[in-house]
């Protein structure tokens, strides 16, 4: 399936109302991009560049102001989140929802469409980063940041997605788990042909990607391999104007 078009973003613009009577603020501006099937993409860029917004527009969590989205050739621009999920798009949230009264088993059963013990065990083995006894953990405020991210990842993989979107999957994850997590996403891509989009600042994910997309101010400013992006990433990583910066008042700041 490699090389086939999985997802197309056409002229996507996303604006939010300005404060009081001010003009609307453009978060994403006329963005066009084609994601190919079975490839691993990393979306990176400075804070506030629109990375998460693009990811949420793909999942249907945000509705684009204008433009259209084609998934496997079908226009899904107006589809609700549930329909996109059923079509094969999955989304791992940066800040995972916490529930009162639902366990990991409950969530994983929804993902799988089955609460069969063997199938649950199978998917836990496939994900490999959490143990079986995780199943009965309540997905509530008591979970650590790392635990909830593992649960988030497992619930996404269990849906067996065609397109998996991971928004900052390493938030709260300990250093030693990031490597296995990257390997897991690569393995999923290789074994199941999952088209993978990771929103991240983490070098480990950027290195794993086939293609790196660099966003700035809601526009794609680079599309290619990591090597080619390095000079720009270095440039973006440290602000050289911090001694004169007056924060939001400096609207001309290139960051």
């Amino acid at each position: 399936m490699k090389g086939h078009v999985m997802l197309e973003l056409k002229n996507i613009t996303f604006t939010v109302p300005g404060a009081d009577n001010e003009a609307p603020i453009t978060i994403i501006e006329n963005l066009n991009y084609t994601f190919e099937s079975g490839k691993f993409y990393a979306i990176t860029g400075p804070n506030g560049s629109g990375k998460t917004t693009v990811a949420k527009i793909i999942m249907g969590i945000h509705s684009q102001t204008t433009g259209s989205i084609l998934f496997e050739g079908e226009d899904i621009s107006k589809w609700p989140v549930s329909d996109r999920a059923k079509a094969g798009i999955a989304y791992a949230f940066q800040h995972s929802a916490r529930f009162k009264g639902l366990t990991f088993r409950d969530l994983l059963s929804i993902s799988l469409g089955s609460d069969d013990e063997d199938k649950l065990a199978e998917v836990i083995a496939r994900v490999g980063i959490c143990s079986l006894d995780f199943l009965n953990k309540p997905v509530d405020a008591k979970l650590s940041g790392g635990e909830i991210k593992k649960i988030e990842l497992a619930t996404v993989i269990a849906t067996n997605p065609k397109l998996a979107i991971y928004d900052e999957p390493d938030t709260g994850i300990d250093l030693w788990t990031i490597g296995p997590m990257v390997e897991l996403l690569k393995k999923e891509k290789e074994k199941y042909g999952t088209t993978t989009i990771v929103v991240s600042h983490n070098k480990a994910f950027l290195e794993a990607a086939d293609t790196l997309i660099l966003l700035r101010k809601g526009k794609i400013v680079y599309n290619g391999n990591l090597e080619g992006a390095l000079p720009m990433l270095r440039d973006l990583s440290i602000c050289k104007f911090s001694d004169t910066c007056e924060g939001v008042a400096d609207v001309e700041c290139y960051r």
């Binding site: 549930s82 929802a97 929804i110």
Partner: protein
């Protein structure tokens, strides 16, 4: 002797598929329908004739007693006073509950007072479910009162659930804890339509190193209303916590008033309370796993109410 409605009510409120094994007392329409005692669990009608006395022998372990009440007679308001005497060192489960089937426009109701005297080192798990069903439009009222007296090192877990269909409920829970005792009260109430439910709780931590935890979960749908009051009073070095969460849907209204009252310098009392709609991030997470909006709402509510 059990008809189809009786069986349905018993299944819902006491998880019984028929007449239970072991000790039981089934009350139907204000009268005794069946009773069985066991070697360690004795049941007798009280002197006033308005309830039963359940006596558990000291040292009784891993036994249970079912005492459901069913109401299917129009216009009847059943009132009972049941007493439970739990012997020292015992460990038992008591399953109560009241199911109302209302088939006419006449009201039906049940007011039950349950008093627990829990002995030294005894453990009790009490499960009580309330449900009203039926096509009739008569008002269904359930006014349960629970009084719990825990002696030294006693432990009680009270699981109190009102599943649905009850038009008016006024619940009162009172507890007194002796030294080393612990109490967990878990109350779950769902109201809808024009229903009203009120819960008043007075927990008194009298003994040193006693612990009380009150967890309340409310779901308020339609135009219904729920009010929740709890007062936690500490008379000794002890620990108490209140956790009350209400989910409001549609036009439901809720008042939650947790109160902490420390009468001892070493008391540790805490509470957390929240009222609000179902959180968007929870809904979107479940929808992103393929559930529709309505399915996601149901799943969240089911989990919240521990169904």
């Amino acid at each position: 002797m059990l008809n189809a409605i009786d069986k349905k009510l018993l299944k819902e409120v006491a998880e019984l598929e028929g007449i239970p094994k072991g000790a039981y007392n089934i009350r139907k329409n204000g009268e005794l329908m069946g009773r069985e005692v066991s070697a360690n669990i004795h049941i007798e009608t009280n002197e006033a004739g308005n309830g039963i006395i359940v006596t558990i022998k000291p040292g009784t372990k891993n036994e249970s007693v079912h005492i459901p009440v069913i109401l299917t007679q129009a216009g009847l308001h059943d009132v009972v006073y049941n007493t439970f005497i739990i012997g020292d060192d015992s460990d038992v489960t008591i399953v109560a509950g009241c199911g109302i089937h209302c088939g006419s426009s006449e009201s039906e109701g049940h007011s039950g007072i349950h008093e627990f005297r829990i002995g030294r080192n005894a453990r009790v798990s009490y499960v009580e479910k309330h449900l009203a069903i039926g096509e009739g439009e008569g008002r269904r009222t359930l006014n349960p009162t629970t009084k719990i007296y825990l002696e030294e090192n006693g432990h009680a877990e009270m699981e109190l659930t009102q599943i649905g269909g009850v038009d008016e409920a006024k619940r009162v829970n009172e507890a007194e804890l002796g030294p080393g005792c612990s109490l967990l009260v878990s109350e779950k109430v769902l109201t809808e339509g024009q229903q009203h439910a009120e819960s008043r709780n007075e927990l008194m931590l009298k003994g040193e190193n006693s612990r009380a935890n009150m967890v309340s979960r409310s779901v308020i749908k339609g135009n219904s209303n729920q009010d929740f009051y709890v007062q936690l009073t500490a008379m000794a070095k002890c620990f108490g916590h209140i956790e009350c969460d209400a989910i409001i849907m549609d036009n439901g209204t809720n008042q939650t008033m947790p109160a902490l009252n420390a009468r001892h310098p070493d008391a540790e009392l805490t509470h957390e309370a929240s009222i609000g709609k179902i959180a968007d991030d929870q809904l979107i997470k479940l929808m992103s796993l393929g559930l529709s909006y309505d399915e996601a709402v149901n799943k969240i509510i089911q989990g919240f109410l521990g169904e």
